[in-house]
Symmetry: C2
Subunit: 210 residues, 2 copies
């Protein structure tokens, strides 16, 4: 049985690997769908791209993470909403978004690659953080299941246009335009138990300022 879907893929003629990678790099959370006992399951999980693969991690105690580790077929959905597209009719109103669905399967990262792979995850979620924190203990590593998803096929859709109203509607009195979603982070907030005199980490300051 092929995992290659035959419908609704690659609809967007301008879909390139570079645009897919940009979306994956911006997305913090992906939604992993799989089948269990014939029924659909889906889990939101933090994702980090490593080349053409997706890295994810969780507790070794999670039954669903362990099921993914067996290599069952997986469909991964990511979406970033960029703006509401406010047209002069409800029908033409839409959204600017970038979304992708990736098809493949996961495998557990081997013990001897675990530290390096988790470093990729840490720096992928907060660039530069690895150099600022202590390394994971053996006990912490043993409690962490790290999976690598290999991608067999993918689909990308990008919607970035303006309202596409008819001449009749444009001649009317309704406003039209876009309402862009805010991006980025607010100012960092120190933990209640942070010791006095410790300045905000460089990795955090970079994201906070960005």
């Amino acid at each position: 049985m092929s995992t290659r879907p035959t419908r609704e893929l690659h609809k967007f003629s301008g879909a390139t690997r570079e645009k897919l990678d940009a979306l994956l790099d911006q997305s913090v959370i992906g939604h992993f769908a799989f089948v269990e006992d014939g029924l659909p399951r889906v889990m939101p999980i933090a994702i980090v791209r490593d080349g053409r693969d997706i890295l994810l991690h969780g507790s070794t105690g999670s039954p669903w993470m362990r099921l993914l580790a067996t290599g069952v077929p997986v469909a991964l959905s990511v979406a970033e909403l960029d703006a509401l597209v406010v047209a002069r009719s409800a029908f033409e109103s839409s959204m600017r978004f970038r979304s992708a669905v990736l098809f493949g399967s996961c495998a557990a990262v081997a013990d001897d690659e675990k530290v390096a792979t988790l470093d990729l995850v840490t720096d992928g979620l907060l660039p530069g953080r690895v150099s600022e924190v202590r390394r994971s203990s053996a006990k912490e590593l043993a409690a962490t299941l790290v999976l690598r998803m290999r991608i067999d096929d993918w689909s990308l859709k990008i919607s970035d246009g303006w309202p596409d109203d008819s001449a009749d509607d444009i001649a009317g009195d309704a406003w039209a335009g876009v309402l862009p979603v805010r991006r980025g982070f607010e100012d960092a907030v120190p933990a209640p138990d942070l010791r006095a005199g410790i300045r905000v980490a460089a990795s955090v300051a970079r994201l906070s300022a960005g």
Copy 2:
């Protein structure tokens, strides 16, 4: 075969319908997982909550929307990232998030309920917009498939804490805290073809200011 999952549900002891509803009301996009030919599929789709149901809509030409309309089992994932939780170790670093998985099935909304249901969708995505735009034409209505998902079961997870570092790590030099995600919308941008003298819609101004 029951659609009721038996694992990993209701882990969060404080999960209430009110907290689930708040998450669903804030989430614009949900990820709909289903099974086709034994394989996992997942689609990001705009969602609006109507009481205990979820409304979604798309083109009558979408094969996957039409498959959902047949009532196949569906798992819907929504997640909102609230902050990066930056601990003094990679292991304790995490995220503040709210996520839910809802299990149920969809049915097409009957023709005589379509206008009212689409109004709920329009006002759900941009409150007050229905009163500002013309009604949908018969042709537009015929091109739109509106689905109502009834929920059989759901799971909610909320993570809203601070770094939970050991005493040894707290005594170290690493910074710890949270980096909150920015929320809301930027200033509205008028469409290039907007006629002169049309002021920004009240519905848009409210969201833009919020």
